[in-house]
Amino acid sequence: MDLLAAVLWQVNPVPWARAQMAFTLAFHIILVPLGVSWAAMTLIANYRGIKRGDADALRLAQRWSKYMAVTFAVGAVTGTVLSFEFGLLWPQFMGNWGEAFGVPFAFEGLFFFTEAIFISIYIYGWRRLKPWAHFWTGVPIPIAGVFGSASVIAANAWMNSPQGVTLDSAGNITDVDPVGVIFNDAMPLMAAHMIVAAYLVGGFLIASVYATGMLRGRRDRYHRLGFIIPFTVAAIATPVQMGVGDGLARWVYANQPVKFAAIEMVPQTSSDVPEVLLGHLNSSGEVEGGIAIPGLASWLSDPSTGRATVVQGLDSVPADQRPTIREVNIVHLCWDLMVGLGTLLFLFTLWYWASWIFRRDMPRSRWFLRGAAVTGVLSVVTMEAGWIVSEVGRQPWIVYNKMRVADAATTNEGVWITFIAVALLYAGLGTTLILVLRGMSRRARTQPALEEAAVPYGPRELAGRQ
């Protein structure tokens, strides 16, 4: 027993703690857009349904709220796991910085309460509440979603820009200015970037489901609405996101130069830095491969000084204060992936807008639907890549320039076991979630006859409308 325990428990917990945190966050972040933006899209359909007596829109809102019940439940519990993991995996981080890092969460708690309460009322209220009263019980959900994600991102932004704290000579917190913590310099743009991402990804994800349905011949009005509402939301969010992202990148250039050096893969500080597409750093830290566009990285960092803009290189700080070569390569690749896919999605939405402007209708081409059907997955990949840029680019720091990840972790050497357990559980959870949602959709589709009888808000409206 002791021998077994000795073998099992002698594994360095740091890489496993990082892996578990990364894995559970990567999973949870997919559900976040649905939690934040799906309710808004459901309310758009709901509003249209009541205001214009549109039975299809109403049916859409009602169905979505049922699917949302499932994704919200899974999002709530996977989010809870994160609040355990802060302590289970990073007790030294929380013990030292909890009084600052925790402040935004105190407010996030309020918004999460609001969201959980009203989503229950909304989902369960279809049958017995009056139509408009019911609609209004849904309105707090997207509002709480926006402020809730802003609060969570404020905490993450604080890790990048740890302000609002007074430290003594030993580096311990002596006082906290909560406003300074929440509204740290990184917060506004990071929060905006995530909230817009939630609408972008949520929109594309849901639209892609209906695009697939239309490709399979289900081109009725119900599917059209199911596509147009979320795709329009995403098509509005995409260009906005490019602007916000551009601003955030420039903020990183000015405030987290080492992260920016990793993003642009800049080994030495210099001006006239080329923008290298793809490529990597070799083992001696030199750029290899890729397509270099002369001077572009400098120019983008600060157009006012153009190619003369100096970009700080990785060598500006000692090796133990910057990401490793492998981490730089991950950050740079993910950056290219995010910008590349984001641009692709933006160009794709131009097709959609052009069709509305010139033909007053969405594109009819099957190629458009084929493209739209993959935007969901692509937008998730884009978001995950962006999140990796932000997190891996901050390495080796958990609190930028104040605490290292390695100094923050638990000493429980069994983390590798919990990582495996969590990975298995989440793999099952993700698969089941998709299967359950597909099953719900198939059931709803294969009972069209019964479906006709079911119009929300009772039989009287049904009689009046059909």
Binding site: Q62, R63, K66, A69, V70, A73, V74, A76, V77, G79, T80, S83, F84, E85, F86, G87, L88, P91, M94, G95, G98, E99, A100, G102, V103, F105, A106, F107, E108, G109, L110, F112, F113, T114, A116, I117, S120, I121, I123, Y124, G125, W126, R127, P140, D175, D177, P178, T410, T411, N412, G414, A421, V436, G439, M440, Q447, L450, A453, V455, P456
Partner: protein, 347 residues
């Protein structure tokens, strides 16, 4: 200020223990409801009863964690570092419970419903046990101060922890049975009123016996807690016992509204009794509230957030509970299968 933050912390723990606990307790009755046919109706009542409220109730746990790590980071670090295993189990159990409950409602095949139902029910028992064991470990002084790790096993596998874990399962089952009796009455199902009433009595008796045995356990294993429970905490212990008995009395005949209140008071007084008994330690005999407290700026922010919660969240909760109790939140969405609001299949 520090005291106010500690009171908010214990209030949140109490709310979670009562309302979150009742949802777990309902899972206990789901687990013990028997086969597909025999357990159909009880499971319908359980589904109906916790469906609209469990997610909102669950947020009390998040709120507890947030207040703990923000206002008392040292205590949070020590607890999570020491209690790595039971808290990991609880986290996995929470995922399994919540997801399975949502999935069970969303699938149609009985086989699937049974699988999700089993996962939901088993984890509903696991989670309160783990939290009880953690509370027992804290209360018996097994979590060291200083944001450091205590014994990874003994901290939660010890007499007080085992006792507190069992007590948590028994009390959550008891509160759930009382609330389910009431809900069955609300649905005018007399058979189910009887069904849950007898279970409420049984769970109440078991909880009482466990609590009584616990006095001896705690006397030997957690002296500070015992002294607190028999002095400062004594009024709350007495209130808990009396309210627990009153709830059972009020369940006779047609379920009385007061029964629910009494059961809630019984569970709440028990948790508060624990808090008062170990006051003013967060980690008994090693870390006091004021030693663990964050700087004033942080505490002020959390108190402000708690004030907002009182203004905004409490009315929202009241709205949710009132709508639920008036049967205005009968089921998810609209009924797509027929004109009647019936659910035909269950695990």
């Amino acid at each position: 200020m520090d005291t106010a933050a500690a009171i908010i912390l214990f209030a949140a723990v109490t709310m979670y223990a009562i309302f979150g606990g009742a949802d777990f307790g309902a899972g206990f009755w789901d687990l013990t409801a028997g086969g597909t046919k025999r357990g159909k109706r009880p499971r319908e009542i359980i589904d109906h009863s916790i469906g609209p409220v469990w997610e909102a109730n669950h947020v009390w746990l998040i709120f507890t964690f947030v207040v703990l790590w923000t206002c008392f980071p040292e205590a949070y670090a020590s607890i999570t570092w020491t209690m790595f295993l039971p808290l990991t189990l609880a986290a996995l159990g929470i995922v399994l419970r919540g997801a399975s409950f949502a999935f069970r409602k969303a699938v149609s095949r009985i086989r699937d419903q049974r699988a999700f139902g089993a996962a939901f029910a088993v984890s509903s028992v696991l989670v309160p046990y783990c939290f009880g064991a953690v509370a027992g470990g804290i209360a018996s002084g097994r979590v060291p101060a200083g944001g450091q790790a205590g014994d990874p096993w003994n901290s939660w596998v010890n007499p007080t922890s085992i006792w507190a874990g069992l007590l948590a399962v028994a009390v959550t089952a008891y509160v759930a049975a009382v609330l389910l009796t009431w809900d069955a009455g609300r649905l005018s199902d007399d058979t189910m009123v009887g069904y849950f009433r007898i279970r409420a009595v049984a769970a109440g008796v078991v909880a009482g016996v466990v609590a009584l045995v616990g006095l001896f356990v705690v006397r030997n294993d957690a002296r500070y807690l015992f002294d607190g429970l028999t002095s400062r905490g004594l009024p709350l212990v007495i209130v808990s016992v009396l309210a627990g008995l009153a709830a059972l009395v009020l369940l006779r005949g047609q379920p009385h509204r007061g029964g629910r209140v009494a059961a809630v008071v019984a569970a709440g007084a028990l948790v508060l009794g624990w808090g008062v008994a170990q006051w003013d330690y967060l980690l008994p005999e090693s870390l006091t509230v004021s030693q663990a407290a964050a700087p004033p700026g942080t505490i002020a922010a959390v108190l402000f957030a708690a004030g907002l919660a009182a203004l905004l969240i409490v009315p929202a909760f009241v709205l949710l509970y009132v709508l639920d109790q008036k049967s205005l939140l009968p089921e998810e969405g609209v009924d797509e299968s027929s004109g009647q609001a019936t659910r035909t299949t269950h695990a």
